[in-house]
């Protein structure tokens, strides 16, 4: 999310390129060149989307 200098309004809405949640801070980037311009909210989303764009239909990424 990019706010105006005053913080009074939003200039750009930025969402995670995998799950779609709003990204308020710098976000997380993928090392995959195909996703270089995409913001992510978490390592989990980076891993899932990276594997999906590289052909895996159902990546297995455990969090617990």
């Amino acid at each position: 999310m990019r706010f105006s200098d005053t913080g009074y309004y939003i200039e750009r809405y930025i969402k995670c390129g995998n799950c779609g949640v709003l990204v308020y801070d710098e976000g997380v980037k993928s090392s995959d060149p195909k996703l270089a311009d995409t913001y992510f909210c978490s390592d989990w989303c980076v891993d899932w989307r990276t594997q999906r764009v590289n052909g895996s239909k159902a990546p297995r990424i455990k969090t617990g």
């Binding site: 999310m1 913080g7 939003i10 809405y13 969402k15 995670c16 390129g17 995998n18 799950c19 779609g20 949640v21 709003l22 308020y24 989990w44 899932w48 239909k57 159902a58 297995r60 455990k62 969090t63 617990g64």
Partner: protein
């Protein structure tokens, strides 16, 4: 994952019950002090307690549409109002769908709970405010094509600071709605709810001490997470796809696809909505908070109901909602129907997807709409503008073990219908008929629940009406061979006429289910028919005694008893 070795389950249970009790008291306060029927009769609100980080610790059993998105609302708000700027006596209000909110009418109020000078928690009330300005009275601008048609957006701001009203916020908000006195009363009710909850919660925290209380709440969330993981582990791993459609968006007649694939992976689940339609021009787009709520809602329906409802049980659930689609709308598209109409379709799709994995708990589709009949006009007696958001009820889908419930609010509402006596006292309508509709439930070994018919006559004032509903075309689906429920419809009959017409015929609207600003005059009549639920299993397997019983009760006609179930003229 898992509770720590030192978990004290007895204390955990007592604290959880105390928090739920506080949430219930918040809800009762809200109900008893509010001005609008959507709060004091329909109970369209949720009351919860969240950690200082925005994780939900406890929630009362009111409207489930709002619980899944609540952590998103609080955490998004705290990005703009940092914790260190929040003081005792502050109350924050927020309704912006593009900052984590659900839809424009849904106002979230939250109040910090300080103990020993530490901000430990928030009490939260989310309520559907009946009038929010915009292009129609009552909030559901079904012909809206941008968010600015749908009413006033309130970013997270303090409406009270250190116990004092922030007059500027009140004045700005109340200048933008049609019913300022009612809105004032309803906002006061929401604030009272969170303040009562904060008082009760502070007592509980003080009794146990801040550190002990926090540890118990952390253990409680870990416990819920462990329970949810155990449930998911019992389901067979695999990929489970499903899709359903919405009729249209009110602007064009194109159907809209809700697509889901659920990946069960050991003790976690990924709910992926890739393949859903791009966001549309009309107001049925869902925000991300809606899609989270709908996915969680579906999974809570398919797992053990005794799992404590808090953010812990959501941890093993990953919801993927691509931006710019009908399940995660991008600014500035309209979205007001996403929370009421699209939520049930999303939740239903997840249940449909998981039905093969969870056949004992899955159920056929319910009517999947709140009917959202909204209206406003000038009250001749009080010389004051009135506005109303009316919810109607649908037939629910049958389960493997039971017929679907008749005349029940859709899956995300849990709301009540306003009693006829209250409705007629408050608004210039005469209710001619409220009835169950025979044959509206889908046939099956277990039958779908019945929809309803309601007929109103306008009495002594012109009323500006709008509606945002669905399932006039795509019916509630049956499961495992069960039949579909019947469609809904809304009809109009002008005073002096004897012909019922739909809104396209009568007023040239683009949709029969989504239309705005139709002026109903004294003597005109409106009929609302609500969808029936889907059936489960083959009708040939239905117990003949149950068919006889349905016939005797008038739930099915002799014609359908014969056609669907093979019941002979002699009743055998």
């Amino acid at each position: 994952m898992g509770t720590s070795k030192a978990t004290d389950f007895v204390t955990m249970n007592i604290i959880e019950s105390s928090m739920i009790s506080a949430c219930r008291e918040m809800g009762i306060t809200l109900m008893k002090t509010s001005y609008s029927t959507i709060f004091n009769e329909a109970l369209d609100f949720t009351c919860a307690i969240a950690s200082a980080e925005g994780e939900m610790w406890a929630v009362a059993e009111f409207c489930p549409a709002q619980i899944g998105g609540m952590p998103l609302i609080i955490s998004s708000s705290l990005k703009e109002i940092p914790l260190e700027t929040i003081n005792p006596g502050d109350v924050i209000v927020h309704n912006d769908p593009y900052r984590g909110g659900l839809h424009t009418p849904e106002h979230t109020l939250f109040c910090p709970v300080f103990v020993d000078d530490q901000l430990v928690a928030f009490t939260v009330a989310i309520g559907h405010v009946a009038e929010v300005g915009g292009m129609v009275p009552g909030g559901f601008a079904s012909e809206a094509t941008e968010i600015f048609h749908e009413g006033i957006r309130v970013p997270p701001v303090k409406i009270k600071k250190r116990g004092e009203d922030v007059e500027e916020v009140w004045k700005l908000w109340l200048a933008n709605v049609r019913t300022p006195r009612y809105n004032y009363g309803d906002m006061r009710a929401l604030i009272s709810g969170v303040e009562v909850g904060a008082e009760r919660l502070a007592q509980t925290i003080s009794k146990y001490g801040v550190d002990h209380f926090r540890k118990i709440c952390a253990d409680l969330m870990d416990y819920s997470e462990a329970r949810m993981r155990a449930e998911l582990r019992d389901l067979p791993d695999g990929a489970y796809p499903f899709h359903d459609f919405m009729d249209n968006d009110g602007v064009t007649d194109q159907e809209i696809r809700i697509n889901v694939e659920c990946f069960i992976q050991d003790d976690e689940i990924v709910v992926d909505f890739e393949g859903s339609s791009p966001q549309v021009g009309g107001p049925i787009n869902a925000t991300l908070g809606v899609t989270w709520s709908a996915a969680y809602n579906a999974i809570l329906h398919l797992t053990d109901p005794s799992i404590p409802k808090n953010s812990g049980c959501f941890r093993p659930i990953h919801v993927l909602a691509p931006a710019g689609t009908v399940v995660n709308v991008d600014y500035p598209a309209p979205e007001v129907g996403g929370n009421t109409e699209t939520h049930p379709r999303i939740a239903g799709a997840v249940i449909g997807a998981l039905a093969p994995a969870s056949p004992e708990r899955a159920f056929a589709s319910e009517g999947g709409t709140h009917l959202n009949f909204v209206f406003g006009g000038q009250d001749k007696v009080n010389d004051e503008y009135f506005a109303c958001y009316d919810i109607e009820v649908v037939g629910w889908g049958a389960t493997r073990h039971a017929d679907g419930n008749d005349a029940t609010d859709s899956i995300n509402g849990n709301c009540r219908v306003t009693p006829v006596e209250v409705f007629e006292t408050r608004y210039p309508w005469l209710t001619e008929e409220v009835s169950l509709i025979p044959d509206s439930g889908g046939a099956g070994a277990t039958r779908g629940g019945l929809g309803t018919r309601r007929i109103w006559t306008c009495l002594d004032a012109e009323i500006t009406c709008s509606q945002l509903t669905d399932r006039h075309v795509h019916q509630a689906w049956g499961l495992n061979g069960g039949g579909s429920g019947t469609s809904g419809m809304t009809l109009y009959m002008a005073a002096g006429s004897s012909e019922w017409q739909n809104m396209m015929q009568a007023f040239g609207k683009s949709s029969t289910s989504k239309w705005s600003n139709v002026v109903i005059k004294p003597g005109d009549r409106v009929e609302i028919v609500t969808p029936g639920g889907g059936g489960y299993g083959s009708p040939a397997e239905r117990d003949p005694e149950l068919v006889q019983e349905d016939l005797a009760e008038g739930y099915v006609t002799a014609e359908r008893a014969k056609a669907d179930y093979g019941l002979g003229a002699g009743g055998d």
